[in-house]
Protein backbone atom coordinates (compact mmCIF):
# COMPACT_ATOMS: atom_id res chain seq x y z
CA UNK A 1 0.00 0.00 0.00
CA UNK A 2 2.79 2.35 0.89
CA UNK A 3 4.44 1.75 -2.47
CA UNK A 4 1.13 2.42 -4.21
CA UNK A 5 0.78 5.82 -2.57
CA UNK A 6 4.34 6.71 -3.42
CA UNK A 7 3.79 5.84 -7.07
CA UNK A 8 0.57 7.82 -7.13
CA UNK A 9 2.32 10.86 -5.69
CA UNK A 10 5.42 10.59 -7.85
CA UNK A 11 3.18 10.13 -10.87
CA UNK A 12 1.65 13.52 -10.17
CA UNK A 13 5.01 15.01 -11.11
CA UNK A 14 4.34 14.27 -14.79
CA UNK A 15 1.19 16.39 -15.16
CA UNK A 16 2.74 18.96 -12.83
CA UNK A 17 5.76 19.22 -15.12
CA UNK A 18 3.50 19.74 -18.11
CA UNK A 19 1.56 22.46 -16.31
CA UNK A 20 4.83 24.22 -15.46
CA UNK A 21 6.02 23.98 -19.09
CA UNK A 22 2.67 25.36 -20.21
CA UNK A 23 2.99 28.27 -17.76
CA UNK A 24 6.50 29.04 -19.00
CA UNK A 25 5.38 28.89 -22.62
CA UNK A 26 2.47 31.20 -21.80
CA UNK A 27 4.75 33.68 -20.05
CA UNK A 28 7.05 33.70 -23.08
CA UNK A 29 4.15 34.32 -25.47
CA UNK A 30 2.68 37.25 -23.53
CA UNK A 31 -0.61 37.24 -25.43
CA UNK A 32 -4.05 36.78 -23.85
CA UNK A 33 -4.78 34.30 -26.64
CA UNK A 34 -2.33 31.85 -25.08
CA UNK A 35 -3.29 31.97 -21.42
CA UNK A 36 -1.26 30.01 -18.92
CA UNK A 37 -2.68 27.81 -16.15
CA UNK A 38 -2.63 30.77 -13.75
CA UNK A 39 -5.01 32.78 -15.95
CA UNK A 40 -7.21 29.75 -16.43
CA UNK A 41 -7.53 29.30 -12.67
CA UNK A 42 -8.58 32.94 -12.35
CA UNK A 43 -11.10 32.41 -15.15
CA UNK A 44 -12.45 29.33 -13.39
CA UNK A 45 -12.93 31.36 -10.24
CA UNK A 46 -14.70 34.14 -12.15
CA UNK A 47 -16.96 31.93 -14.23
CA UNK A 48 -17.68 28.80 -12.27
CA UNK A 49 -21.36 29.51 -11.47
CA UNK A 50 -22.18 29.98 -15.17
CA UNK A 51 -20.06 27.03 -16.21
CA UNK A 52 -21.62 24.68 -13.66
CA UNK A 53 -25.11 25.73 -14.67
CA UNK A 54 -24.39 25.16 -18.38
CA UNK A 55 -22.59 21.91 -17.66
CA UNK A 56 -25.67 20.67 -15.82
CA UNK A 57 -27.76 21.20 -18.95
CA UNK A 58 -25.17 19.38 -21.03
CA UNK A 59 -24.97 16.41 -18.68
CA UNK A 60 -28.75 16.03 -18.67
CA UNK A 61 -28.73 15.87 -22.46
CA UNK A 62 -25.83 13.46 -22.53
CA UNK A 63 -27.63 11.09 -20.12
CA UNK A 64 -30.83 11.23 -22.16
CA UNK A 65 -28.97 10.46 -25.38
CA UNK A 66 -27.04 7.64 -23.75
CA UNK A 67 -30.24 6.14 -22.32
CA UNK A 68 -31.89 6.15 -25.75
CA UNK A 69 -28.84 4.41 -27.21
CA UNK A 70 -28.74 1.75 -24.48
CA UNK A 71 -32.39 0.87 -24.85
CA UNK A 72 -32.21 0.53 -28.62
CA UNK A 73 -28.67 -0.58 -29.42
CA UNK A 74 -27.90 -3.37 -26.95
CA UNK A 75 -30.87 -5.50 -28.06
CA UNK A 76 -30.10 -4.72 -31.69
CA UNK A 77 -26.43 -5.63 -31.22
CA UNK A 78 -27.29 -8.94 -29.54
CA UNK A 79 -29.76 -9.69 -32.29
CA UNK A 80 -27.19 -8.96 -35.00
CA UNK A 81 -24.61 -11.07 -33.19
CA UNK A 82 -27.00 -13.98 -32.83
CA UNK A 83 -28.30 -13.89 -36.38
CA UNK A 84 -24.82 -14.07 -37.81
CA UNK A 85 -25.50 -13.55 -41.47
CA UNK A 86 -27.37 -10.33 -40.93
CA UNK A 87 -24.65 -9.04 -38.65
CA UNK A 88 -21.83 -9.94 -41.03
CA UNK A 89 -23.61 -8.44 -43.99
CA UNK A 90 -24.34 -5.20 -42.16
CA UNK A 91 -20.78 -4.72 -40.88
CA UNK A 92 -19.76 -2.22 -43.61
CA UNK A 93 -22.89 -0.20 -42.89
CA UNK A 94 -21.89 0.01 -39.23
CA UNK A 95 -18.35 1.04 -40.24
CA UNK A 96 -19.75 3.71 -42.47
CA UNK A 97 -22.15 5.15 -39.93
CA UNK A 98 -19.40 5.09 -37.31
CA UNK A 99 -17.18 7.43 -39.33
CA UNK A 100 -19.72 10.15 -40.01
CA UNK A 101 -18.61 13.03 -37.83
CA UNK A 102 -21.35 14.76 -35.81
CA UNK A 103 -20.84 18.13 -37.55
CA UNK A 104 -21.57 16.47 -40.88
CA UNK A 105 -24.82 14.86 -39.77
CA UNK A 106 -26.13 17.84 -37.83
CA UNK A 107 -27.75 19.56 -40.83
CA UNK A 108 -29.48 16.28 -41.62
CA UNK A 109 -30.68 15.74 -38.07
CA UNK A 110 -31.91 19.31 -37.92
CA UNK A 111 -34.24 18.69 -40.84
CA UNK A 112 -36.06 16.02 -38.86
CA UNK A 113 -35.55 16.93 -35.23
CA UNK A 114 -35.18 20.69 -35.20
CA UNK A 115 -32.66 22.70 -33.22
CA UNK A 116 -33.84 22.02 -29.69
CA UNK A 117 -33.16 19.34 -27.11
CA UNK A 118 -34.39 16.49 -29.29
CA UNK A 119 -31.97 17.21 -32.09
CA UNK A 120 -29.06 17.09 -29.68
CA UNK A 121 -30.34 13.97 -27.95
CA UNK A 122 -30.62 12.22 -31.32
CA UNK A 123 -27.04 13.16 -32.21
CA UNK A 124 -25.75 12.03 -28.82
CA UNK A 125 -27.66 8.76 -29.10
CA UNK A 126 -26.19 8.26 -32.55
CA UNK A 127 -22.66 8.69 -31.23
CA UNK A 128 -23.28 6.45 -28.22
CA UNK A 129 -24.90 3.85 -30.46
CA UNK A 130 -21.70 2.98 -32.28
CA UNK A 131 -19.66 1.46 -29.41
CA UNK A 132 -22.76 -0.08 -27.80
CA UNK A 133 -23.82 -1.74 -31.01
CA UNK A 134 -20.32 -2.88 -31.95
CA UNK A 135 -19.54 -4.32 -28.56
CA UNK A 136 -22.82 -6.09 -27.93
CA UNK A 137 -22.55 -7.44 -31.47
CA UNK A 138 -19.00 -8.68 -30.94
CA UNK A 139 -19.84 -10.03 -27.50
CA UNK A 140 -22.83 -12.06 -28.55
CA UNK A 141 -21.28 -13.53 -31.66
CA UNK A 142 -17.95 -14.45 -30.14
CA UNK A 143 -19.14 -16.36 -27.11
CA UNK A 144 -16.66 -19.07 -26.33
CA UNK A 145 -17.84 -22.23 -28.11
CA UNK A 146 -16.75 -24.20 -25.07
CA UNK A 147 -19.47 -22.51 -23.03
CA UNK A 148 -22.13 -23.42 -25.58
CA UNK A 149 -21.00 -27.02 -25.42
CA UNK A 150 -21.17 -26.96 -21.63
CA UNK A 151 -24.72 -25.65 -21.92
CA UNK A 152 -25.58 -28.46 -24.31
CA UNK A 153 -24.13 -31.17 -22.13
CA UNK A 154 -26.02 -29.79 -19.14
CA UNK A 155 -29.22 -29.95 -21.21
CA UNK A 156 -30.07 -26.32 -20.52
CA UNK A 157 -33.14 -24.96 -22.27
CA UNK A 158 -32.76 -22.11 -24.78
CA UNK A 159 -33.98 -19.58 -22.21
CA UNK A 160 -31.71 -20.95 -19.49
CA UNK A 161 -28.74 -20.81 -21.86
CA UNK A 162 -29.45 -17.20 -22.61
CA UNK A 163 -29.90 -16.28 -18.98
CA UNK A 164 -27.10 -18.32 -17.46
CA UNK A 165 -24.48 -18.44 -20.22
CA UNK A 166 -24.95 -15.86 -22.97
CA UNK A 167 -25.90 -12.89 -20.84
CA UNK A 168 -23.18 -13.10 -18.18
CA UNK A 169 -20.47 -14.00 -20.65
CA UNK A 170 -21.21 -11.06 -22.93
CA UNK A 171 -21.73 -8.66 -20.07
CA UNK A 172 -18.10 -7.57 -19.59
CA UNK A 173 -17.74 -6.65 -23.25
CA UNK A 174 -21.07 -4.83 -23.28
CA UNK A 175 -19.90 -2.98 -20.17
CA UNK A 176 -16.79 -1.89 -22.05
CA UNK A 177 -19.03 -0.69 -24.85
CA UNK A 178 -21.16 1.20 -22.36
CA UNK A 179 -18.07 2.87 -20.94
CA UNK A 180 -16.97 3.98 -24.40
CA UNK A 181 -20.52 5.07 -25.15
CA UNK A 182 -20.66 7.21 -22.02
CA UNK A 183 -17.41 8.84 -23.08
CA UNK A 184 -18.72 9.56 -26.58
CA UNK A 185 -22.05 10.87 -25.27
CA UNK A 186 -20.13 13.41 -23.24
CA UNK A 187 -17.89 14.31 -26.16
CA UNK A 188 -20.71 14.66 -28.64
CA UNK A 189 -23.07 16.51 -26.33
CA UNK A 190 -20.51 19.30 -26.21
CA UNK A 191 -19.94 19.19 -29.97
CA UNK A 192 -23.65 19.27 -30.76
CA UNK A 193 -24.14 22.26 -28.51
CA UNK A 194 -21.34 24.06 -30.29
CA UNK A 195 -22.99 23.51 -33.65
CA UNK A 196 -26.65 24.00 -32.73
CA UNK A 197 -26.11 26.44 -29.93
CA UNK A 198 -28.93 27.32 -27.65
CA UNK A 199 -27.47 26.58 -24.26
CA UNK A 200 -25.13 24.15 -22.50
CA UNK A 201 -21.40 24.08 -22.00
CA UNK A 202 -20.72 23.74 -25.74
CA UNK A 203 -22.52 27.01 -26.37
CA UNK A 204 -20.55 28.58 -23.55
CA UNK A 205 -17.29 27.47 -25.21
CA UNK A 206 -18.45 28.78 -28.57
CA UNK A 207 -19.35 32.13 -27.04
CA UNK A 208 -16.01 32.38 -25.26
CA UNK A 209 -14.10 31.70 -28.43
CA UNK A 210 -16.10 34.05 -30.59
CA UNK A 211 -15.49 36.76 -28.02
CA UNK A 212 -11.80 35.86 -27.78
CA UNK A 213 -12.03 34.83 -24.13
CA UNK A 214 -9.65 31.91 -24.46
CA UNK A 215 -9.02 31.73 -20.72
CA UNK A 216 -12.75 31.43 -20.04
CA UNK A 217 -13.03 28.80 -22.76
CA UNK A 218 -10.21 26.76 -21.24
CA UNK A 219 -11.93 27.09 -17.87
CA UNK A 220 -15.01 25.53 -19.47
CA UNK A 221 -12.88 22.78 -20.96
CA UNK A 222 -11.39 22.12 -17.52
CA UNK A 223 -14.87 21.51 -16.16
CA UNK A 224 -15.76 19.20 -19.04
CA UNK A 225 -12.62 17.25 -18.30
CA UNK A 226 -13.42 17.13 -14.58
CA UNK A 227 -16.94 15.89 -15.33
CA UNK A 228 -15.45 13.23 -17.58
CA UNK A 229 -13.01 12.07 -14.90
CA UNK A 230 -15.76 11.85 -12.27
CA UNK A 231 -18.20 10.04 -14.53
CA UNK A 232 -15.52 7.58 -15.65
CA UNK A 233 -14.46 6.90 -12.07
CA UNK A 234 -18.09 6.29 -11.13
CA UNK A 235 -18.65 3.93 -14.03
CA UNK A 236 -15.46 2.07 -13.22
CA UNK A 237 -16.56 1.53 -9.62
CA UNK A 238 -19.97 0.30 -10.69
CA UNK A 239 -18.35 -2.05 -13.15
CA UNK A 240 -16.07 -3.46 -10.46
CA UNK A 241 -19.03 -3.91 -8.17
CA UNK A 242 -21.39 -5.56 -10.62
CA UNK A 243 -18.85 -7.54 -12.61
CA UNK A 244 -16.62 -8.52 -9.69
CA UNK A 245 -16.69 -12.14 -10.80
CA UNK A 246 -15.25 -11.21 -14.16
CA UNK A 247 -12.37 -9.23 -12.66
CA UNK A 248 -11.73 -12.00 -10.17
CA UNK A 249 -11.40 -14.54 -12.97
CA UNK A 250 -9.32 -12.23 -15.10
CA UNK A 251 -6.61 -11.72 -12.53
CA UNK A 252 -3.62 -13.81 -13.53
CA UNK A 253 -2.59 -16.53 -11.11
CA UNK A 254 0.07 -15.23 -8.80
Amino acid sequence: MKRETRIALLGLLVPLGIVILWQIAALLQKTPLFPGPGKVVVAIWDNYPVILHQLGITLRRASAGFAVAVVTMIPLGIFLGRVRVVGKVLEPLMDMLATLPPPAIIPLVMLFAGTGDWAKIVIIAYAAAVPLLMNSYEASHSINPMLSRVAKSLHLSRLETMRLIDWPSSLPMIATGARLAIASSLLVSVTSEMLLSTNGIGTYLQRSQENFRIDAGLAGIAFISLAGVLVNAGVFRLEKKWLFWHYRDQRPAE
Binding site: V14, V89, L108, I221, I224
Partner: protein, 259 residues
Amino acid sequence: MNWAIWAERLRVPICAALLLGAWQLVYALGVVPEKYFPSIPTIATAFWAMLNDGTVLSAWAVTFGRATVGLIGAALLGVALAIISDLSPVLSRGIRYISDVLQPIPPAAFVPMAVFMLGLGTKLYAFVIILVTIWPPYLNGVAALAGVGSVQLNTGRMFGLTNWQLLWQVKLPAALPEIFTGIRYAATISLIAVIVAEMLAGRDGIGFMIFKKAFALRTPEVFGLMFLVGLNGVLLNGLVNLLRQGLTGWHIKMMERPE
Protein backbone atom coordinates in the same frame (compact mmCIF):
# COMPACT_ATOMS: atom_id res chain seq x y z
CA MET B 1 -26.46 -21.93 -46.45
CA ASN B 2 -25.22 -21.06 -49.91
CA TRP B 3 -27.12 -17.77 -50.04
CA ALA B 4 -25.56 -16.76 -46.74
CA ILE B 5 -22.07 -17.02 -48.18
CA TRP B 6 -23.10 -14.99 -51.21
CA ALA B 7 -24.76 -12.41 -49.03
CA GLU B 8 -21.57 -12.06 -47.06
CA ARG B 9 -19.45 -11.72 -50.16
CA LEU B 10 -21.74 -9.08 -51.57
CA ARG B 11 -22.14 -7.27 -48.29
CA VAL B 12 -20.72 -3.95 -49.43
CA PRO B 13 -23.14 -3.55 -52.33
CA ILE B 14 -25.97 -4.83 -50.13
CA CYS B 15 -25.23 -2.24 -47.49
CA ALA B 16 -24.97 0.49 -50.08
CA ALA B 17 -28.30 -0.54 -51.57
CA LEU B 18 -29.94 -0.59 -48.14
CA LEU B 19 -28.65 2.85 -47.26
CA LEU B 20 -29.48 4.45 -50.59
CA GLY B 21 -32.87 2.72 -50.61
CA ALA B 22 -33.72 4.04 -47.15
CA TRP B 23 -32.66 7.53 -48.22
CA GLN B 24 -34.74 7.37 -51.37
CA LEU B 25 -37.73 6.15 -49.36
CA VAL B 26 -37.53 9.13 -47.00
CA TYR B 27 -37.24 11.36 -50.05
CA ALA B 28 -40.27 9.76 -51.69
CA LEU B 29 -42.34 10.17 -48.54
CA GLY B 30 -41.76 13.91 -48.85
CA VAL B 31 -41.34 14.58 -45.13
CA VAL B 32 -38.81 17.27 -45.95
CA PRO B 33 -38.89 19.57 -48.99
CA GLU B 34 -36.69 18.36 -51.83
CA LYS B 35 -34.57 21.48 -51.63
CA TYR B 36 -33.08 20.29 -48.34
CA PHE B 37 -33.30 16.55 -48.88
CA PRO B 38 -32.45 15.82 -52.51
CA SER B 39 -32.99 12.45 -54.16
CA ILE B 40 -30.18 9.96 -54.65
CA PRO B 41 -29.99 10.55 -58.45
CA THR B 42 -29.62 14.30 -57.84
CA ILE B 43 -26.88 13.69 -55.29
CA ALA B 44 -25.16 11.24 -57.61
CA THR B 45 -25.23 13.71 -60.51
CA ALA B 46 -23.77 16.45 -58.34
CA PHE B 47 -21.12 14.11 -57.01
CA TRP B 48 -20.25 12.94 -60.51
CA ALA B 49 -19.72 16.54 -61.58
CA MET B 50 -17.37 17.15 -58.64
CA LEU B 51 -15.56 13.94 -59.45
CA ASN B 52 -15.06 15.04 -63.03
CA ASP B 53 -13.61 18.44 -62.26
CA GLY B 54 -11.13 16.78 -59.95
CA THR B 55 -11.89 18.91 -56.90
CA VAL B 56 -13.30 16.09 -54.85
CA LEU B 57 -10.42 13.73 -55.49
CA SER B 58 -7.75 16.18 -54.45
CA ALA B 59 -9.72 17.18 -51.36
CA TRP B 60 -10.26 13.53 -50.53
CA ALA B 61 -6.57 12.78 -50.90
CA VAL B 62 -5.73 15.63 -48.53
CA THR B 63 -8.21 14.48 -45.88
CA PHE B 64 -7.47 10.80 -46.14
CA GLY B 65 -3.74 11.47 -46.16
CA ARG B 66 -4.02 13.62 -43.05
CA ALA B 67 -6.10 11.01 -41.26
CA THR B 68 -3.68 8.22 -42.18
CA VAL B 69 -0.53 10.12 -41.24
CA GLY B 70 -2.21 11.27 -38.06
CA LEU B 71 -3.29 7.75 -37.25
CA ILE B 72 0.18 6.34 -37.78
CA GLY B 73 1.75 9.07 -35.69
CA ALA B 74 -0.80 8.71 -32.92
CA ALA B 75 -0.56 4.92 -32.94
CA LEU B 76 3.24 4.99 -32.69
CA LEU B 77 3.12 7.57 -29.92
CA GLY B 78 0.37 5.69 -28.11
CA VAL B 79 2.29 2.42 -28.21
CA ALA B 80 5.45 4.23 -27.14
CA LEU B 81 3.60 5.65 -24.15
CA ALA B 82 2.27 2.19 -23.37
CA ILE B 83 5.81 0.77 -23.44
CA ILE B 84 7.08 3.56 -21.19
CA SER B 85 4.18 2.85 -18.86
CA ASP B 86 5.11 -0.81 -18.83
CA LEU B 87 8.69 -0.01 -17.86
CA SER B 88 8.07 2.51 -15.11
CA PRO B 89 5.15 2.39 -12.70
CA VAL B 90 5.62 6.05 -11.78
CA LEU B 91 5.54 7.29 -15.37
CA SER B 92 2.66 4.94 -16.01
CA ARG B 93 0.68 6.61 -13.27
CA GLY B 94 1.66 10.06 -14.51
CA ILE B 95 0.62 9.37 -18.08
CA ARG B 96 -2.62 7.86 -16.82
CA TYR B 97 -3.44 11.08 -14.98
CA ILE B 98 -2.96 13.03 -18.18
CA SER B 99 -5.00 10.65 -20.29
CA ASP B 100 -7.83 10.71 -17.75
CA VAL B 101 -7.94 14.47 -17.90
CA LEU B 102 -7.56 14.93 -21.65
CA GLN B 103 -9.75 12.12 -22.91
CA PRO B 104 -13.15 13.61 -22.09
CA ILE B 105 -12.48 16.77 -24.11
CA PRO B 106 -14.04 16.76 -27.59
CA PRO B 107 -11.94 17.84 -30.59
CA ALA B 108 -14.58 20.42 -31.48
CA ALA B 109 -13.90 22.12 -28.15
CA PHE B 110 -10.16 22.13 -28.70
CA VAL B 111 -10.13 23.46 -32.24
CA PRO B 112 -11.51 26.96 -31.59
CA MET B 113 -9.09 27.52 -28.70
CA ALA B 114 -6.14 25.94 -30.43
CA VAL B 115 -6.39 28.01 -33.62
CA PHE B 116 -5.19 31.05 -31.72
CA MET B 117 -2.06 29.30 -30.56
CA LEU B 118 -1.36 26.98 -33.46
CA GLY B 119 -2.83 28.73 -36.46
CA LEU B 120 -4.81 26.99 -39.16
CA GLY B 121 -2.12 24.75 -40.59
CA THR B 122 -0.33 21.49 -40.01
CA LYS B 123 0.40 22.21 -36.35
CA LEU B 124 -3.30 22.42 -35.63
CA TYR B 125 -4.08 19.13 -37.34
CA ALA B 126 -1.19 17.34 -35.69
CA PHE B 127 -2.26 18.63 -32.28
CA VAL B 128 -5.94 17.81 -32.66
CA ILE B 129 -5.49 14.38 -34.22
CA ILE B 130 -2.88 13.23 -31.76
CA LEU B 131 -4.80 14.57 -28.82
CA VAL B 132 -7.89 12.53 -29.60
CA THR B 133 -6.45 9.54 -31.46
CA ILE B 134 -3.63 8.53 -29.15
CA TRP B 135 -5.77 7.08 -26.35
CA PRO B 136 -7.20 3.85 -27.76
CA PRO B 137 -3.80 2.46 -28.84
CA TYR B 138 -2.28 3.64 -25.57
CA LEU B 139 -4.97 2.22 -23.28
CA ASN B 140 -5.18 -1.07 -25.15
CA GLY B 141 -1.39 -1.23 -25.24
CA VAL B 142 -1.09 -0.79 -21.49
CA ALA B 143 -3.76 -3.40 -20.80
CA ALA B 144 -2.28 -5.85 -23.29
CA LEU B 145 1.31 -5.49 -22.10
CA ALA B 146 0.20 -5.93 -18.51
CA GLY B 147 -1.87 -8.94 -19.47
CA VAL B 148 0.92 -11.00 -21.01
CA GLY B 149 0.84 -14.28 -19.12
CA SER B 150 3.47 -15.03 -16.52
CA VAL B 151 4.09 -18.40 -18.14
CA GLN B 152 5.20 -16.70 -21.34
CA LEU B 153 7.39 -14.26 -19.41
CA ASN B 154 8.99 -16.95 -17.30
CA THR B 155 9.66 -19.04 -20.38
CA GLY B 156 11.36 -16.05 -21.92
CA ARG B 157 13.45 -15.49 -18.81
CA MET B 158 14.43 -19.16 -18.80
CA PHE B 159 15.86 -18.65 -22.26
CA GLY B 160 17.97 -15.89 -20.73
CA LEU B 161 16.30 -12.98 -22.52
CA THR B 162 17.13 -9.52 -21.23
CA ASN B 163 14.34 -7.13 -20.32
CA TRP B 164 14.59 -5.45 -23.73
CA GLN B 165 14.48 -8.75 -25.56
CA LEU B 166 11.59 -9.82 -23.39
CA LEU B 167 9.73 -6.67 -24.40
CA TRP B 168 10.45 -6.93 -28.12
CA GLN B 169 10.26 -10.66 -28.57
CA VAL B 170 7.62 -11.76 -26.10
CA LYS B 171 5.50 -8.98 -24.76
CA LEU B 172 4.96 -6.81 -27.84
CA PRO B 173 4.04 -9.65 -30.20
CA ALA B 174 1.66 -11.03 -27.59
CA ALA B 175 0.09 -7.61 -27.09
CA LEU B 176 -0.15 -6.72 -30.79
CA PRO B 177 -3.64 -8.08 -31.49
CA GLU B 178 -5.18 -6.08 -28.68
CA ILE B 179 -3.20 -3.01 -29.69
CA PHE B 180 -4.68 -3.35 -33.17
CA THR B 181 -8.18 -3.36 -31.77
CA GLY B 182 -7.28 0.01 -30.28
CA ILE B 183 -5.81 1.24 -33.55
CA ARG B 184 -8.94 0.22 -35.41
CA TYR B 185 -11.02 2.31 -33.06
CA ALA B 186 -8.49 5.13 -33.37
CA ALA B 187 -8.78 5.04 -37.17
CA THR B 188 -12.40 6.11 -36.96
CA ILE B 189 -11.61 8.80 -34.43
CA SER B 190 -8.75 10.21 -36.47
CA LEU B 191 -10.92 10.53 -39.54
CA ILE B 192 -13.63 12.28 -37.55
CA ALA B 193 -11.08 14.60 -35.93
CA VAL B 194 -9.59 15.60 -39.29
CA ILE B 195 -12.97 16.40 -40.78
CA VAL B 196 -14.11 18.30 -37.70
CA ALA B 197 -10.90 20.34 -37.75
CA GLU B 198 -11.30 21.02 -41.46
CA MET B 199 -14.90 22.09 -41.01
CA LEU B 200 -14.15 24.39 -38.09
CA ALA B 201 -10.80 25.84 -39.04
CA GLY B 202 -9.57 24.33 -42.26
CA ARG B 203 -8.85 25.67 -45.66
CA ASP B 204 -8.76 22.47 -47.67
CA GLY B 205 -9.87 18.86 -47.54
CA ILE B 206 -13.29 17.25 -47.53
CA GLY B 207 -14.39 18.97 -44.30
CA PHE B 208 -13.69 22.40 -45.75
CA MET B 209 -15.34 21.43 -49.02
CA ILE B 210 -18.52 20.44 -47.16
CA PHE B 211 -18.46 23.80 -45.43
CA LYS B 212 -17.89 25.69 -48.66
CA LYS B 213 -20.59 23.86 -50.60
CA ALA B 214 -23.04 24.45 -47.77
CA PHE B 215 -22.31 28.16 -47.95
CA ALA B 216 -22.93 28.13 -51.69
CA LEU B 217 -26.31 26.47 -51.01
CA ARG B 218 -25.32 23.36 -52.93
CA THR B 219 -27.21 20.81 -50.88
CA PRO B 220 -26.81 17.80 -53.22
CA GLU B 221 -23.03 18.28 -53.21
CA VAL B 222 -23.01 18.49 -49.41
CA PHE B 223 -24.79 15.16 -49.07
CA GLY B 224 -22.62 13.61 -51.76
CA LEU B 225 -19.56 14.55 -49.73
CA MET B 226 -21.19 13.20 -46.59
CA PHE B 227 -21.61 9.82 -48.24
CA LEU B 228 -17.96 9.98 -49.26
CA VAL B 229 -16.97 10.56 -45.65
CA GLY B 230 -18.87 7.44 -44.64
CA LEU B 231 -17.15 5.50 -47.40
CA ASN B 232 -13.81 6.68 -46.02
CA GLY B 233 -14.58 4.89 -42.78
CA VAL B 234 -15.11 1.60 -44.59
CA LEU B 235 -11.88 2.14 -46.50
CA LEU B 236 -9.76 3.05 -43.50
CA ASN B 237 -11.10 0.10 -41.54
CA GLY B 238 -10.24 -2.15 -44.46
CA LEU B 239 -6.67 -0.83 -44.51
CA VAL B 240 -6.22 -1.35 -40.78
CA ASN B 241 -7.60 -4.87 -41.11
CA LEU B 242 -5.14 -5.65 -43.89
CA LEU B 243 -2.28 -4.38 -41.77
CA ARG B 244 -3.49 -6.40 -38.84
CA GLN B 245 -3.59 -9.55 -40.91
CA GLY B 246 -0.08 -8.83 -42.11
CA LEU B 247 1.35 -8.19 -38.67
CA THR B 248 -0.66 -10.52 -36.50
CA GLY B 249 -1.74 -13.19 -38.95
CA TRP B 250 -0.58 -15.95 -36.63
CA HIS B 251 -2.95 -14.73 -33.98
CA ILE B 252 -5.98 -14.63 -36.23
CA LYS B 253 -5.21 -18.13 -37.48
CA MET B 254 -5.00 -19.38 -33.93
CA MET B 255 -8.22 -17.67 -32.99
CA GLU B 256 -10.21 -19.29 -35.77
CA ARG B 257 -12.32 -21.75 -33.99
CA PRO B 258 -14.30 -24.62 -35.44
CA GLU B 259 -17.94 -23.75 -35.60
